[in-house]
Symmetry: C2
Subunit: 401 residues, 2 copies
């Protein structure tokens, strides 16, 4: 009598969430420092000092009605202008404040975009491995979620697979780079090919196939890796962004949807984004943090902690016999499971108090995700257990475990 | 090729929003103090000092990860506990923290509840006059929006009309008291009757009809008026609340959905609420303001400004020949239009620089809404123009205007 899918979505815990809750229970039993929770992608570095400074300044200088009043549904003009200016400076683009719609993070951005675009029958193409909530958002908007496998060796686009998957019904291709959970950055060569293919198919089917970039990890890259700015390669690109990682403020829920002028029917798309925000119950994004972002849109938290963590964990796991691609961004290692069934492998890892998430969650069985946005001391304490886990799996038949 | 309803929702400005934008333009032409914008329900009193104090204390005492990190999807435990304690103290209820799901204001609360409850064919009953976005939310959730007229003399429930409107398909009745736009508080007698009718029909149709209370104006009442607490009268009551008015922080987007244990299938309903929040892209409500609410859940802004405004405007308009019910809560006067067509009346009022909203927006043609959450000086300057408007309408044939 009440919506079954909603009950299921509420009751069925994701493996990530289930791990997290198991970890909290387990910590009560044996002590927090003996449980090694690598399951959550929860930034653990401080925000840049500018965020706090901006908030304190705002609290000192502005009156309550200005500070806490409703903002326009599309977001405060000064915030949108600061974002446009920052992107234009960094990427040589020429966005206007009116190309931006401020959202409660990238999750709401993707949910809003899918709601704005979808007509019955529409399909969305998502590359594996992917952030699991994409499926929830696409399906809740009435779209069909179409998975396309990437190349096993490097998680770059498998164009033969993609060419087969794109059909007349394809509304959009969603690209998450740097990727959660693999840490891979899609190469410029791939993006150029992808743009050519989307142009060709858009012409063939006589309707635009949109490219949606989900970019919360854009600034979280290592070794000066370059993340090509998608709108420069393909006209009908929409960007979803979140300040969760760059400013390390995931709980504040602030980000944006960008609809460049070059997008096919950009005025209609922008109007539909506004309409979708309204239909989904978003009146406006929270006002104080919007005003803070206007002051620190260009700042980035000190992400060197993640780089140290990556280096430490990646090299140690290599030595122990694990296989994985060295991530160029984000804060995850996506490691080959040492047992054929990655869920069984994750359950087995719990014997060593290691909490990691099966790749099945991300559309990629045979792998596990290790989130290294944790204190370095946790990694140091966990390393001997990762070693023992590998030894146990490598020297023992899976069937005996 | 993109979702038409979403484009329409984004492009079609509400009369409220259209008035507001006209007002801004007009202010540029003739000066801000000469335009009298009574169209927006935007609180204009400061937050209680506790909000700012709580934020400053939090910024001083907590580290960034605690302050700005993800919160649980259902909201921070301490916040939910503070809310439960406050309601239990005030209303003698016995809610637990786990009965609450923290939302981005009451709008998202209603959107989430309708998403959680609706199965195809469901109908929602809404009394006129009503907040226009209810229609957007109910329809976006896939429900049918069923308007039921209230009694013309006092906007209390017309039970003959309600009995006809409730059918086997009725999923819920939505009650907004104190009401936007009428300022009316639904009487305890009405609520007792309503509960009896809902119990009777739930038994007859063998399924629960839920009562949804939308209560952002609960604390905004005059002359110590009592707003009966709905959960004490009807078991299957769900409450949507926002701190927008009580704490005067509408831009911060913070409120809750309350699912008491007594609600039929309360566990399933709560799970569906969590699932709906997820499906609509709400990861969590913003973290800093959640933590501030934990500290000041019981506080209320100084609302005496609204009381003064109501008294001044209500008595003056009466004298000039306008007719309206004296509002017992909220900050709106819902006045009989002085022309048969209330939209024409509002257009005509612009000649006197008065910006007011036709009742048609609220499902109630023949009335206009005057929002008096404005500086008292604006009311004082506007009164002579309200007088002239009345004289012009009363002494002139509508057709000649």
């Amino acid at each position: 009598m009440i919506a079954e899918e909603m009950i299921n979505l509420g009751e069925k815990k994701s493996a990530i969430r289930e791990n997290f809750e198991y970890g909290k229970q387990r910590a009560k039993q044996i002590g927090k420092e003996k449980v090694f929770d690598f399951s959550l992608g929860n930034p653990n570095v401080p925000a840049p000092a500018g965020v706090r400074r901006a908030m304190e300044k705002l609290l000192n200088q502005k009156d309550d009605v200005e500070l806490f009043g409703y903002t326009p549904a599309q977001g405060i003009f000064e915030t949108r202008k600061a974002i446009a200016d920052n992107l234009n400076f960094r990427f040589g683009t020429s966005f206007r404040p009116d190309n931006f719609y401020i959202t409660c993070g990238a999750a709401s951005g993707i949910r809003i975009i899918t709601q704005a675009l979808t007509v019955p029958g529409d399909e969305y193409i998502i590359f594996t491995p992917y952030f699991p909530e994409y499926k929830v958002f696409v399906e809740a908007a009435g779209g069909k979620f179409v998975e396309v496998k990437t190349r096993q060796e490097d998680f770059q686009i498998d164009f033969a697979a993609l060419e087969q998957a794109i059909t007349e019904k394809t509304k959009a291709v969603l690209l998450n780079s740097p990727n959660n959970p693999s840490g891979v950055i899609i190469s410029e060569e791939n993006i150029i090919w992808l743009a050519a293919l989307l142009n060709e198919r858009s012409a063939l089917y006589r309707h635009t196939i949109y490219l949606i970039g989900d970019e919360p990890y854009r600034e979280l890259v290592y070794d000066n890796a370059d993340v090509p700015y998608l709108t420069k390669y393909y006209k009908s690109t929409l960007i979803c962004y979140s300040y969760s990682k760059s400013l390390s403020i995931p709980g504040e829920r602030i980000g944006y949807v960008l609809v460049p002028d070059e997008v096919e029917q950009s005025g209609k798309v922008y109007a539909a984004v506004c309409g979708a925000g309204r239909a989904l119950g978003y009146v406006c994004a929270p006002s104080l943090i919007q005003q803070a972002v206007a002051e620190c849109a260009g700042q980035v938290a000190d992400l060197s902690v993640y780089k140290n963590n990556r280096d430490l964990l990646y090299h140690a796991l290599q030595t122990y016999g694990y296989t994985c691609i060295c991530p160029k961004g984000a804060f995850y290692l996506f490691v080959r499971s040492l047992l054929p069934d990655s869920a069984a492998f994750c359950r087995y890892a719990r014997k060593y108090e290691l909490l990691i998430v099966p790749g099945d969650e991300f559309g990629c069985p045979g792998y596990v995700r290790i989130a290294y946005c944790v204190p370095v001391s946790q990694i140091e304490r966990a390393l001997p257990w990762f070693k023992k886990l590998a030894e146990a799996c490598i020297t023992t038949q899976a069937s005996e475990l």
